[in-house]
Amino acid sequence: MGFLDRERTIAPAGFNRWLVPPAALAVHLCIGQAYATSVYKTALVKHFGASLTEIGLVFSIAIVMLGLSAAIMGTWVDRNGPRKAMFTSSMFWVGGFLIGSLGIFTHQLWLVYLGYGVVGGIGLGIGYISPVSTLIKWFPDRPGLATGMAIMGFGGGALIASPVSTALLKAYDPNSGAQGWVASGDAVGKLFLTLAVVYLVYMLFGAFTIKVPADGWRPAGFDPAKVKAAKLVTTENVSAKNAVKTPQFWLVWVALFCNVTAGIGILEQAAPMIQDFFRGPDGASLVSAAVAAGFVGLLSIGNMAGRFAWSATSDITGRKRIYMLYLGVGALLYTVLALAGSSTTILYVALAFLIISFYGGGFATVPAYLRDLFGTFQVGAIHGRLLTAWSAAGVAGPLIVNAFLDAQGKPGQLTAASYQPALLTMVALLVVGFVANLLVKPVSARFHEPRLDRDRPHEPAMEA
């Protein structure tokens, strides 16, 4: 399929680079649905007669596959360009929904694991990294802003999918008005089919809109010398194969892992946590389920807004400094949350909001951090390999929190003090991440790709 080739996506003269972020967002808004699976989780538990853990495994498989496919396919994505990558991602993501719906209609949970988990998870991984390298090349003057816009979409996708899925489940289930209603499996199957069609259209819009800049293109008025003035920013290039041999890659990996693990600690427990933090003398929570749901919504906004705002800010502050903020100030905020979070709800909500905004900011800033350290040559592939930190944190975060909470008591009986060991463990993790980030120095010249022309900044030709 030649029309998907990178050569067919090179932008003509006069192309407006602001057309590229919507193309990237179209993909990220679709795959961001992965954060909205809680909408039909109870319905699937009932439909399959399975446990919450068995249904939760669908999401866990998808996130693990995201990390693996991003790591394994990153070089392929860089070599073949964003259009082919986005097209492939859409086929996997939509295919995952179709196979998943078949599993639901035929009562075979393993098909949901295979569909949404494995096949869909591959679509997640390829889709997540597909526009990143292209955006960095279109916005060499503001890479943090550009990647922030796209990765904000991953946070925003759940904000759209959640209310839309709830409305569709009600529309597809004739019993939706009943007391204590839980959606039928049939309704969830139809929801999967509907999402497949809508996501196909949107992702293909992204794939066929995206373009790569011609070799040597620069935005008007852009002076690479100004960018180079920052100590950590290189105009050299490091291949993905060499990048993983550098200490810088693993230091950033640790920083991202610590930041994500700490964020997931709050996100996973958001609703029960706020209810446990504020209990009356009789032990009943002072926070209603509706208010707790509002808190979860606020965290989603913080997650999304942090991706854009902090990443864009990193263009001014530099990537290392903004990571010092995420990890250093994050550790302080976590400490206050653990020791004084239960004093007032306003303080609790404000602390959690900021912490989650740092969590989102960490995701969105990291591609630009990699560009600064390793150049643009294979930044997509390097980013893909780095996302294994996300997969690892996705396992470690809930494990840490749940292990501490299990030792403290049963759900519904926990208090603010029950959370202190878990939260203080997160503080220690953030300090480890802070130190790792502090140790990041420019990459040694022995890892740089050879340059034929030393007189002007040059990139190896093949990459998108």
Binding site: G14, F15, R17, L25, A26, A158, I160
Partner: protein
Amino acid sequence: MSNVPNNNPSAPDNTVAVNTATGKLALGWALVGVPLAYGVYETLTRVAALFG
């Protein structure tokens, strides 16, 4: 910011190109911006319970 403009465009062609680009830009951003705004609005209505 756009790319360096065509070196030798005729005036009418240039106008058409600019209009097309503006139209594409508006359509592209609307396609992603409208659903995103809807999602944020729906979420904020839930958040209202927190401060109600």
